[in-house]
Symmetry: C2
Subunit: 333 residues, 2 copies
């Protein structure tokens, strides 16, 4: 018996998730909803460029689709903010359907969106189903993975995670999100209005601190431009010399005034080496590095798809990667 | 409220676990049992060289100690084989106490010790408590960690894990276990009578295969000597030129005749670089490396101690690292 999946949101990430679901045995797309007029009324197989029809038409009406498709789980990829997804979550939970979402703020919501988080948790418990926010970051490389690595430690002093990505291999919206091609002034304005930034550092830092039993004080976060010393070619956005090629975002979590968790993301066109590293200062000291890094778009979709069977079986409530069973690829067989 | 811990077995690993428990807030040693006449009747703090008394005397009588100490959890570090620990497990489960064990064959028991595994699972369910086999290997570096890394993949073709250790930093029993100092003939005989070998590869391979949904065929395992080209100094065992400095053990799991899981352990005195690497051939391809490797003795004790709170809360039955919540350091606060 396949797990019946309803897709809510077919933007770049939602579509990547749906394509993986379509390709995996053990999972089946039974519904797809996106409010984009260019998608409403079309077969999902066509929207996803699968080269075959799925006999699932995007009606644009979430409530009708839940009733019609009777899904075992809903995948929500519509917004980075918890506020943006609450109405969808509530509609889905009213029908007692568990949720996996790539909403960054849902990855570890209790500390930063306390009121909304409690409301979703209560609705999920009432429905008797689980809600999980996941993805590669937040969700894995900068939180679940470093936490899992601390399991071999008898003492942990400090955790430093660094993610360096040559953004040339990423999709256009990502390249734009990191500010590629902007002048320094444009970049500064977009940082100020929060359109250029990675969402999820606070969530990841809080997840790590809670796992370590650290009472977190302030988190200091900073977004700086990476300025190209010479023109960068090969990206989807032209970057002239002196223009911004991407961002360097750093967040530090303090405990009693001391720097205990440091997350650094360097995402820019032309980074000489991509990697994901975790340093755990403690006993034993652990330095782990994924050479070439983890491809963000594939990985976020994979984390979402691979979480589906665990979420279907999980205890009711707003769960996090910390209390889910060991993450794993799900073959569907 | 501290978690009350009973220690069963105070050999090198059991003592390392107990020392960590003694040092962590949130955990408390309430009992200790070892049948070694040199330990019976002595205070556990003295046996563990803590420099302070724990007011816990090793009576050598497991059943009496469980009754007297009323533990929340028992840590069993007495044997590598499931057969060797069953009587202890049954005595502990009769008192409805959950168990964490470093018994290698308990790390993923269902496939290789089906009958014993079912018996322990039934006893644990009847007692309403969980039993978990863990440690660094099996338990983490060659199974749980590679499995967790596959969570970012949409496709997994093959997994290769390599653990290279300069055994000079390990304790004497480990250096002897890998055959350091032997002649090639002596090594061959000890491999034949199974006194020189690492236990747990089959368990790790099966755990990975099950997580990937692969129907595992045969497992081929091989232990070869690493022969010193020149004398190796710095170990606890003298290794002359031409003598064995340690072992190279390799296990391959086949699926439909194809090599899908390969585990290689190179543990010898004088290895030029220690590391733990995981290669996942798939999409995306993942190559992760822990530079310097994970120190086996500390890590096995840490994995055990860090698993305690999760095991106390876990669903009843014979659990594995696959179905436990995300591994993590446990600060006890």
């Amino acid at each position: 018996m396949s797990i019946r999946v309803l897709h809510v949101g077919l933007g770049p990430i939602g579509a990547a998730v749906a394509r993986q679901v379509a390709a995996r045995p053990g999972l089946r797309i039974v519904g797809a909803v996106d409010i984009d007029p260019a998608k409403v009324g079309r077969d999902a197989g066509e929207v996803l460029d699968l080269g075959r029809r799925l006999r699932v038409t995007d009606s644009g009406d979430l409530d009708a689709e839940i009733r019609r498709s009777a899904p075992d789980v809903a995948v929500v990829c519509t917004s980075s903010t918890l506020g943006g997804v609450v109405p969808q979550f509530e509609a889905i939970l009213r029908r007692r359907v568990p949720i996996v979402t790539t909403t960054e703020e849902a990855a570890y919501p209790a500390s930063y969106n306390t009121r909304l988080s409690r409301r979703i948790d209560a609705a999920a418990r009432k429905a008797g189903v689980a809600v999980l926010g996941t993805g590669v970051n937040p969700g894995f490389t900068m939180d679940a993975l470093p936490i899992a690595l601390t399991a071999v430690c008898e003492r942990v002093e400090r955790i430093e995670v660094r993610r360096v990505q040559d953004a040339r291999i990423r999709r256009l919206p990502f390249q734009l999100k990191i500010g590629a091609g902007l002048t320094r002034d444009e970049f500064r304005r977009k940082v100020a209005d929060r359109t250029v930034r990675h969402v999820g550092f606070s969530e990841s830092i809080q997840m790590i601190a809670d796992a370590m039993g650290w009472s977190l004080g302030r988190i200091v976060e900073q977004v700086k431009p990476k300025v190209a010393q010479r023109a960068v070619t090969g990206g989807l956005v032209p970057v002239a010399s002196g223009r911004v090629s991407g961002l360097i975002q750093r967040a530090v979590g303090y405990v009693d005034g001391a720097e205990r968790v440091t997350l650094t993301l360097e995402a820019y066109l032309g980074a000489p080496e991509s990697y994901d590293s975790v340093l755990i200062e403690g006993s034993p000291r652990i330095y782990s590095k994924i050479e070439g890094g983890v491809h963000g778009d594939i990985a976020t979709a994979s984390m979402t798809v691979n979480s589906i069977p665990a979420v279907v079986e999980a205890d009711a409530g707003f769960r996090t990667m910390r209390d889910m069973r060991l993450p794993s690829f799900f073959s569907g067989t």
